[in-house]
Homo-oligomer: 208 residues x 2
DNA sequence: ACAAGAAGTGAACGATGATTCACTTCTTGT
DNA sequence: ACAAGAAGTGAATCATCGTTCACTTCTTGT
């Protein structure tokens, strides 16, 4: 037994693995899943196709990991926005949405890939987890608002699911003004007004 | 010139064509776009693969037609629901949503394929048209409501886009209570309450 | 009955893309 | 220096599908 993996080789291995996931994420951010066949990922990472398979059992596993990391980032950002400030539920929801929206608009393609682009089942499972996290964050704020008497009683899960749908469509959907050259600030303000009314509050400012 | 197409042959040709589009629609309704390769469509229609290409220049064209027909049906149904009744904008929007929702719940897979499942660009163009139609129907009702002083001023297009997103997620999305065994009537009632509040009205009844 | 034209057939082709594997190159402990 | 084991390679393989086309079968007018 003349070979023993050491810190040095371990680090090198991790570095290669990281180059592969980074390449995959970049390709997705540029052109979505279709723009990221294994050969292209390997090419961008500067390794051979076979090397990808030394680090991941299949393409699905690779992309599931990429997905998991990227979406965890997004969810964490939203959670911080929501929990970071005190105040009424409506304001905290608005802060969460604003954070989500600004990040999504900065990387529209990646946001679309995470939210909506079709993928294989293994990756889809990650997406489901991701969407659940969003919904639960929203549902939590709304439930508190109801408990405090700030919001009307409502089916919290249904409201939260519909909110996620509305936000997704408004940010990355083809109908969205954001997809058609609208001013991001205006689009976000409209979206927040919509969501504020939807949970049963009066928006602070009215559009237009 | 000894052959002249006649009514009889014309009818036979149309029938075959119809069998092909029907087979395609059924396969989509059962398993989505991925479950409908040309060979499977031909098989279900009881014709050879080559026959499909006698009737449609390409798979894209076939599916574009299937999409167009199916979505036109849906849009017409919603339009009738909205225009069929008099009354305040909020009520008419609710009627439109209810119609949409009941149809979507009856054929969830097809609805998902029409609304969200990724497809080639030619078909995507049909979908865009379809979603635009929905948005415009919604935007029309809301604009009238604003004009009548029934609804607060708001960015009509943004509201309409967000509504479409909310409805889609609530009906066919993985988060939806409707996807998790919820009672359709309850799910629809919650959705309508959400949308009613979102456009700036007080719902008639409160959930739970 | 027959020729012309159309509809129908399905094996073969071509493109794309994931996955494999025999082989080479690098690292490590003796 | 050397053997063992790991990392890396990339051409070849396999699978899936859309599309084509030489051929067969049907329909119609003479």
């Amino acid at each position: 037994m003349a070979y023993r993996s050491t810190e040095r080789t371990e680090a090198r291995r991790a570095k290669t693995r990281g180059r592969i996931t980074t390449a995959a994420r970049e390709l997705i951010a540029e052109g979505g899943y279709v723009a990221a066949p294994v050969a292209a990922v390997a090419d961008r990472a500067g390794v051979a196709v076979g090397t990808v398979y030394r680090h991941f059992p299949s393409k699905s596993d690779l992309f599931a990991e990429v997905f998991r990391e990227a979406s965890q980032h997004e969810v964490d950002a939203m959670r911080e926005a929501i929990e970071g400030i005190p105040g009424p539920a409506g304001d905290r929801m608005a802060a969460g949405i604003e954070t989500f929206a600004r990040r999504a608009l900065r990387g529209r393609r990646l946001a679309w890939a995470l939210l909506a682009e079709p993928v294989d089942p293994a990756v889809e499972a990650e997406r489901l987890h991701f969407r659940h996290s969003y919904r639960d964050l929203m549902a939590g704020v709304i439930a508190e608002g109801i408990e405090d008497g700030e919001l009307p009683t409502q089916d919290v899960d249904a409201t939260a699911a519909a909110l996620i749908g509305a936000i997704g469509e408004a940010m990355v959907g083809p109908l969205s003004p954001a997809s058609n050259g609208g001013d991001p600030d205006v689009v976000i303000a409209s979206l927040i007004n919509f969501c504020t009314r939807a949970i049963g509050e009066e928006p602070a400012h009215v559009d237009r």
